[in-house]
């Protein structure tokens, strides 16, 4: 089930999409290449959120902070230090991972909802500092015209760079999820008490998951600079975090590629709806409500349910439900 839609029957579809992704720049106009790059990196951001959220069961409410910190760290490295931009691009994800470690250490001992709330408060603090510190971060103007290395300065090359980095990151995330560590993490999600009893250090697993998620959010932040050459404080505002959560939910949180699909749908919708009206949050909100009411497992989750339904997995799900119910009752 966790193989995603590209397991088994879907493999041909997966290869076709991959080939198309590599061929798109040959015939698509520049705007669509830009759009595709944004979809890819936002999809990476959403996938990195889905890792602690869907697989770890951690209420990562303020994920955008790591995205913004990664982007700002890279941008500041490039514009202030005079070192090669490549060092900046590498520094971004590590800065994000470091912030994630610090915030994780502070928040991890709290229960789920408190965790999310403390994370939002710490994140808002970082947002305010970025927003107000004009002399260093450029305040609400952000930083514009960040110089890029020549290799990736054209939009086509930036797209290929984004595509390759995104695919690599997705592959690494996939491997992590399907490693013993990933299985243990899912164990801590489903039953923390039982996991602790069989000797899994629950807090440590969650913390590592948070650091990994922060790192890949930072990668997405660095990629945003490659594609757009700007950073601005809205990248770490809490509304963006919730939008990314919406992407995860729309695509399906317990699926690997669901968040990517959700990001693609939402960004395409936004681009085309804002073409003819100023009202974008209204349709987004309505879409969100219908997903919550009619597709609580997301689009990919629904497709998987229909395509790969098998009695064995169903038995598994029933058991999950029972575990959750007993957890509720106790």
């Amino acid at each position: 089930m966790s193989n995603g839609i590209f397991g088994g029957k879907g493999r041909i579809l997966g290869v076709a999409i991959l080939v198309l992704l590599f061929l798109f720049p040959l015939f698509l106009p520049r705007f669509y290449i830009y759009l595709l790059s944004i979809i890819l990196l936002t999809g990476l951001l959403a996938t990195s959120l889905n890792f602690p959220l869907g697989y770890g069961g951690i209420f990562q409410f303020h994920h955008a902070v790591f995205y913004g910190v990664g982007a700002y760290a890279a941008a500041l490295m490039i514009t202030k230090s005079g070192l090669s931009p490549w060092i900046g691009f590498v520094a971004g994800p590590f800065a994000a991972a470091f912030v994630s470690l610090v915030m994780g250490l502070i928040c991890i001992r709290l229960s789920r909802l408190y965790f999310g709330m403390l994370q939002i408060s710490l994140g808002s603090l970082i947002w305010i500092i970025v927003y107000r510190w004009y002399s260093f971060t450029g305040g609400d103007n952000g930083i514009h015209g960040i110089p890029l290395p020549d290799v990736i300065s054209s939009s086509k090359n930036a797209y290929y760079f984004t595509l390759i980095v995104t695919l690599l990151s997705l592959w690494v995330l996939y491997k992590i999820i399907h490693s013993p560590f990933g299985s243990a993490l899912q164990g801590t999600r489903d039953n923390p008490v039982r996991s602790a009893m069989i000797g899994i250090n629950v807090r440590l697993h969650q913390l590592v998951a948070l650091i990994i998620a922060g790192f890949f959010a930072g990668v997405a932040g660095s990629l945003f600079i490659v594609v757009d050459t700007t950073v601005f404080p809205d990248m770490l505002f809490w509304t963006l975090s919730l939008e990314v959560l919406i992407m995860c939910l729309l695509g399906g949180w317990f699926t690997f590629l669901g968040p990517m699909l959700g990001a693609a749908i939402i960004i395409i919708l936004r681009t085309f709806i804002s073409g003819f009206t100023d009202y974008w949050t209204l349709p987004l909100g309505l879409l969100m409500m219908s997903v919550i009411f009619f597709l609580p497992n997301g689009i990919l989750g629904y497709i998987q349910e229909k395509l790969y339904w098998s009695p064995a997995e169903h038995a598994d799900l029933v058991e999950d439900d029972m575990v959750q119910q007993t957890a509720k009752e106790s």
Binding site: F59, F61, I106, L110, I120, S121, S124, R132, T281
Partner: protein
Amino acid sequence: MDLFTAIFSPKLMSQILVGLSRTVILFIVASGLSLILGVLRIPNIWHGSLYMVGAFMTFTISGAFGGGSMGFWMALILAPISVALVSLIAERSFFQHLYEREHLMLLLLTFAFSLVFGDLVKMVWGLEYKSVPVPRVFQGSVHLFGGLPFPIYNVFLLAIGPVVAIALWIIVNKTKIGKISRAAAVDREMVGAVGINVSWVFAFVFMIGCLLAGLGGALVAPTVNVSLGMDHTLIMEAFLIVIIGGLGNVWGALVGALIFGLAQSLGILIWPQFGIVFPYAAVIIVLLLRPTGLLKSTW
């Protein structure tokens, strides 16, 4: 003597009063949020939008009554009531079907509502700032503490804070429905089993909570530019207040609002550029010392 004058310096005292009037608004909004969190377990992001709607309603209603004192008083009564009615409709048609779902789903549903209402407010009231005139009774300022002016409207705010707090205490502790809702917060099924219609109790609590959001919006309207986006910062502040006070504890909301409001106003005095950082830092310190909030949480 030096210390005395330093502590009771007019500037500091008037800044504290400004902080306290901010506290009143924060308390009114956060207590509604806390009530909903405590009884219904909904992390209601929509609350901020209702606050904004309350402020815009105040603008429209006070304009409809000619913009004078009469208009303000009518708005102060009618704006919260209309917000409460909107929330009741939303609760009956949407929220009540989702109480068994995860917090995350409820959070996202309320966020969806706030997205929809953000655009609805834009459609109805447009993009421009709106300003609501201060009623004639409260125009001007009094001179306290060595002559620093303090707006009379803020004195009115300081007076209304305790009134709301006492009214809320009476509703929660002394009325039958308040007692039922406190019981429902602890064990919903048991309350249902003794023959009480829990669903409508929840609707009532939700409505009261949202009424408080509308009241906060109506009260704040004459002191600020009523604008789009005023929900975004406020809802975050209200959530943090509820968290540091203890989830679902209405008195916690009071304590949290005091900490938040005073840290904000005194922070500006200490370091003008980063004054806004202080309340967030205070929240972090409180949560590091007491991870589940200062007062007992109902969760």
